[in-house]
């Protein structure tokens, strides 16, 4: 596949309610039971070649007693409801991922960290091996920029797990386009990929950086457009310019 869109993160003040609402709004099923530390995700598969929305939010609110910059960012962007807060690209090999790490002069977050708490865990005991880049104290999502993932075992990919049945459920056929802020030139420069708009199905709206909408195809159904404000609409990326 080469460089592709893997998933979108939708930050939520209440992942249970947001997943239920999205299911009723769009007819897209979701599955539950994946978490990492104080955060859990409800996963909305979008169809081939393996895309999904992860609706993410705190499920251990006591950890907010010990606030940090990232937690505060999540709180700030979800105070007024759901916001798209991450565009997550994918590659097919560790070599490709390391090339992105080299481009950003950073390291890869390894998929084989022996600490289970460092990984997403599932209710059936499965621990999701996943490598990503860039690595750093501050997530690039806070600047409205995408990161890149590599899964050594795609057979357990989050987009392929069975969903709870819901009324009026559609069968999604994949992402048709993602609307992002900024310009193609800005994103090409960030990724080191010329003309990235011809590589990825992106539309640029010139607004603040981040994801603003996703269009999903569906069998025997009109295209589904899910529109939520980007995180940068709630907290400007300039806050994290240093």
């Amino acid at each position: 596949m080469g460089l592709h869109i893997d998933h979108l993160s939708l930050a939520s003040p209440n992942i249970f309610r947001s997943a239920d609402a999205l299911c009723k709004e769009a007819g897209l099923g979701y599955w539950t039971g994946e978490w990492i530390r104080d955060t859990a995700v409800h996963i909305v598969p979008l169809g081939p070649p393996g895309n999904f929305i992860e609706i993410s939010g705190f499920v251990d609110v006591h950890t907010l007693k010990n606030m940090d910059e990232h937690k505060q960012w999540i709180l700030d962007i979800t105070e007024t409801g759901d916001h798209f807060n991450g565009l997550c690209l994918g590659v097919d090999s560790m070599e490709e991922l390391e090339q992105f790490a080299a481009h950003w002069k950073t390291k890869v977050n390894p998929f084989n960290n022996p600490d289970p708490a460092a990984h997403f865990q599932r209710a059936n005991g499965y621990i999701l091996p996943m490598a990503s880049t860039p690595s750093g104290k501050r997530s690039v999502w806070m600047k409205g920029l995408p990161n890149v993932y590599y899964y050594p075992d795609r057979t357990h990919h989050s987009s392929g797990q069975p969903t709870h049945p819901c009324e009026g459920m559609v069968r999604p056929t994949g992402i048709k386009w993602v609307e992002v802020g900024g310009t193609e030139e800005e994103l090409s420069t960030w990724l080191g990929v010329p003309n990235v708009g011809s590589v990825l199905p992106l539309k640029f709206n010139g607004k603040s950086l981040g994801v603003w909408a996703v269009c999903v195809g569906a069998e025997e159904h009109d295209d589904i457009v899910i529109r939520r404000p980007a995180a940068s609409d709630a907290v400007p990326v300039s806050k994290f310019a240093d």
């Binding site: 249970f16 979800t78 819901c166």
Partner: protein, 231 residues
């Protein structure tokens, strides 16, 4: 007809890790139950067989913490417990609203005026009424006593009968064999209006409340101990 055990409430700080711990430790499966009508509380269910389940709940909405009136009493207690989870409620079931009304009346209260609701991930909600309720009635859970429930006529989708998430090595659950309770048999009999033996209760003489739940499985008996709400 005597009431039967319906479910056991486990208040937790993190509904995910608590459910995971139970499945990992006791090899008893669980599934995602959705969210409650209060919307700030998430739910996971652990079927135990025999029409009984554990209901694990925790706060899952960070903005609920800014309004202390939305903090359930059991949440603070769960935070203080070693396992970050407590036995916070013991819930019996009757079959009819008439029975529930009689129980409420016997305790000087009424049936809770608002039905409880839970939205399941697969859509259909569940609805139930509880008793006793009212300004003159003690909070049964908080004082270590059972309360009573009557489900909407949907026992065919009772939480104890729903499939768990498949996981390696799960046991086959076959019902609750006994409950370890605080207080005395006589105190409990007076509260219940039926003999505690009908609910397989044992008494340890400590303060009122639930202390342990024994579950029959195809691999032998499993005993789940947590701090009681009244400790």
């Amino acid at each position: 007809m005597a009431a039967v055990l319906d479910h056991i409430h486990m208040g937790a700080n993190n509904v995910y890790t608590t459910a995971h711990d139970i499945t990992q430790t006791y090899k008893i499966g669980h599934y995602d139950g959705g969210f409650m009508s209060s919307i700030t509380v998430g739910h996971k269910a652990v079927p135990l067989g025999g029409g009984v389940y554990i209901e694990i709940e925790s706060l899952i909405d960070p903005f609920a913490t800014s309004d202390l009136t939305k903090l359930p009493w059991w949440y603070t207690k769960a935070l203080a417990a070693p396992e970050k989870a407590i036995w916070s409620g013991l819930c019996l079931r009757v079959n009819t609203m008439e029975e529930l009304g009689e129980i409420a009346k016997r305790h000087g209260g009424v049936i809770s005026p608002r039905a409880g609701r839970r939205t399941r991930p697969d859509g259909p909600g569940v609805k139930f009424w509880s008793a006793p309720s009212g300004p003159k009635v003690v909070n049964a859970w908080e004082t270590g006593r059972p309360n009573w429930y009557c489900w909407e006529d949907r026992l065919y989708v009772h939480p104890s009968g729903q499939p768990v998430i498949p996981a390696p090595g799960l046991v086959d659950v076959q019902g609750v064999s006994w409950l370890e309770m605080g207080g005395t048999e006589q105190e409990m009999a007076d509260w219940l209006g039926q003999h505690p033996d009908t609910l397989n209760m044992k008494f340890n003489g400590k303060s009122l409340g639930l202390y342990a739940v024994a579950v029959k499985t195809d691999m032998g008996e499993v005993v789940i101990r947590r701090r009681s709400a009244t400790e």
